[in-house]
């Protein structure tokens, strides 16, 4: 599988990353180098091998249904680059 300029543009869009037009081609080259190397995984027979979902042999922790958090609106807003009256603000989103 080979990655071209358009593919880089498409995945950059999916990742919401502004990649300058002149960087698309070189980036495609870099990614291809990496994907070509990764292709060696194709050598391994993985039929019937389960995909790993967790390296630790442990049961998922369950929390009690208690209200223990929140009430932090001020602290939540201290790092906000855009905010008004405890709301985060962004350029208007048109549905």
């Amino acid at each position: 599988m080979s990655v071209d300029k358009d593919t880089v543009r498409r995945i950059a869009k999916l990742a919401r990353l502004a990649v300058p037009e002149e960087r698309l081609e070189p980036m495609a080259g870099e990614l291809n180098g990496i994907f070509k190397w990764v292709e060696m995984l194709g050598e391994v027979k993985v039929d019937g091998v389960p995909a790993l979902t967790s390296v630790v042999a442990q049961k998922l922790k369950w929390r009690k249904d208690e209200v223990t958090d929140g009430g932090n609106a001020d602290a939540l807003m201290t790092n906000a680059p855009g905010g008004e009256d405890h709301f985060f603000t962004v350029p208007k989103v048109v549905e």
Binding site: K61, K64, A73, F87, V93
Partner: protein, 503 residues
């Protein structure tokens, strides 16, 4: 369950008839104190961002820890939908960017949901029932809320809802009319409310439906049910966030007609997401969702697989309340009509009220009393069953007084009016105001004599036309202030006027 399609479900197009096929995805907010993966409150209507933990806000380094109540509620709901509970399920990340999605992904369940296939029976107005298959139920996080009308060029983001647990319930495409779609949602709402797993409050967004609509030529659906192949069905459109039972019917009707028109004009239906505009009563394409979706699902590495023990699931199954279908069957066995039974079980509070009301009395009489007297008065006053001013046990006492001839049916209605507005114990009111039915033949005979004396000409008329005896009954009732037992009056009149037994 196979059945023949009724003519009124078909849409008439210029080229012939079309059939509607409907599937639904319902988002039901799990009833819990705190969120799915954080300890922030789920209460409705709080100040902006006041119920947000740093986890819900997607702050760096924050991690999800699952709320056991939400797991239990999902399992409880699954059991209520007669569905398979998966003892191992996985949480996946659904990746996309939106201002009210703080993590940049929604934690959901994609490949391995907690609940698998189940079914819901829906009862239609014509007395028939159909089964709607449930494809799956999974747990996921709700997003926050973007408010677009507070500022000319900014959207405001409130994350109070962010992270609240939702159950997404997906049906198979087993509904074939707007009536069925609405009936399904109503039934589902009743089930989750019986279970206590979702409050079903559609106004507050606790229950929201996305409706998938397609049209096909008659017969296509049967072929689909026979071999399971979607090729027999038309291309579907998903109508987002239809948030009332009324809108569901409107949205389905509009969308189906739109699709038929397009096809008949030689066009093709594009699979897309559409929004129902309740003001215009139409659906329209959501351009913002048109961009190619690629959610890049993968198992959330912050969480381990969710594993349940069968014994734990069994314990929940044992604790399930009686659900609408079982209750309905029991009510029918007690003598109620299927229609009355369906109405009574549609709300758990109504069914509970009915059961208290019907304690030790004839079920049919209790149902009639509830339908005609109590619900009639509630409707007039715009009140819900939870706000009824007369307790079920007081009404039970009234019904008992009717059945043991203490009071007449007519007096019973007056009595209900009195306790409805003034309160009080019905038995005490009957005694205090002398409303007891008169069964004493002496008193009835006296009243008859008085009526005969005042209307001698009528006596002759009745003798000629025995059917006119009803007039005499009415007069005697009037004479006794409605308290005379109508049967006793009838019998006494027959004797006194020498009327034949059957007239």
């Amino acid at each position: 369950m196979s059945r023949t399609i009724k003519g009124q479900n078909l849409i008439k197009g210029s080229s012939g008839e079309w059939e509607i096929v409907i599937g639904m995805e319902v988002h039901a907010q799990v009833t819990s104190n705190s969120k799915l993966f954080s300890g922030a409150s789920t209460a409705f209507g709080a100040d902006p961002n006041s119920q947000v933990s740093f986890v819900d806000a997607g702050m760096p380094g924050m991690l999800p820890v699952i709320n056991e109540k939400c797991i239990e509620q999902a399992v409880r709901t699954g059991l209520g939908l007669k569905a398979k509970i998966n003892l191992r399920s996985l949480f996946d990340r659904k990746n996309y960017f939106y201002p009210d999605l703080p993590q940049g992904y929604q934690i959901s369940q994609f490949k391995d949901p907690i609940v698998g296939e189940g079914e819901v029976t829906i009862d239609l107005k014509d007395g028939t029932s159909i089964l709607v298959g449930i494809e799956r139920l999974h747990l996921e996080q709700d997003a926050g809320k973007s408010i677009h009308d507070q500022h000319p060029d900014q959207s405001f983001v409130d994350l109070n809802r962010s992270g609240v647990a939702l159950m997404e319930i997906v049906t198979k495409p087993h509904m074939r009319s707007s009536e069925e779609a609405a009936a399904f949602l109503k039934k589902l709402r009743a089930i989750v409310r019986y279970l206590g797993t979702c409050d079903g409050n559609m106004d507050e967004g606790s229950m929201r439906a996305d409706v998938n609509v397609s049209v096909c030529k008659p017969g296509g659906y049967e072929k689909f049910r026979a071999d399971g192949s979607f090729k027999h069905l038309g291309t579907r459109c998903e109508i987002k966030n239809v948030n009332s039972l009324r809108f569901i019917a409107q949205a389905v009707e509009y969308e189906a007609r739109r699709q038929v028109e397009i096809i008949e004009e030689g066009g093709t239906i594009r699979q897309e997401t559409r929004l129902f505009d309740s003001k215009q009563g139409e659906t329209r394409s959501m351009r913002s969702k048109e961009e190619a979706h690629d959610y890049r699902y993968f198992p959330d590495p912050d969480l381990l697989p969710l594993e349940l023990e069968q014994a734990w699931v069994d314990a929940i199954a044992k604790s399930l309340p009686e659900l609408p279908d079982e209750k309905r069957a029991r009510f029918i066995a007690q003598g109620l009509s299927p229609y009355d039974a369906s109405v009574l079980v549609s709300e758990r509070e109504l069914a509970d009220y009915f059961e208290d009301l019907a304690q030790g009395v004839d079920a049919k009489a209790a149902a009639n009393w509830l339908n005609n007297e109590i619900l009639g008065r509630l409707n007039k006053a715009g009140l819900a069953i939870t706000e009824v001013p007369v307790t079920a046990s007081a009404n039970n006492a009234i019904i008992r007084m009717i059945s043991d001839n203490t009071i007449s049916g007519k007096i019973a209605k007056d009595l209900l009016d009195i306790v409805w507005t003034e309160g009080g114990d019905p038995k005490a009111v009957v005694e205090a105001r002398g409303l007891r039915q008169v069964t004493d033949t002496g008193a009835i005979d006296a009243a008859i004599e008085a009526v005969i004396a005042a209307n001698p000409e009528k006596v002759e008329e009745v003798k000629a036309k025995p059917k006119l005896s009803a007039w005499f009954v009415g007069q005697v009732m009037k004479q006794t202030g409605g308290k005379a037992n109508p049967a006793a009056v009838n019998a006494a009149l027959k004797t006194r006027l020498n009327l034949p037994d059957e007239g």
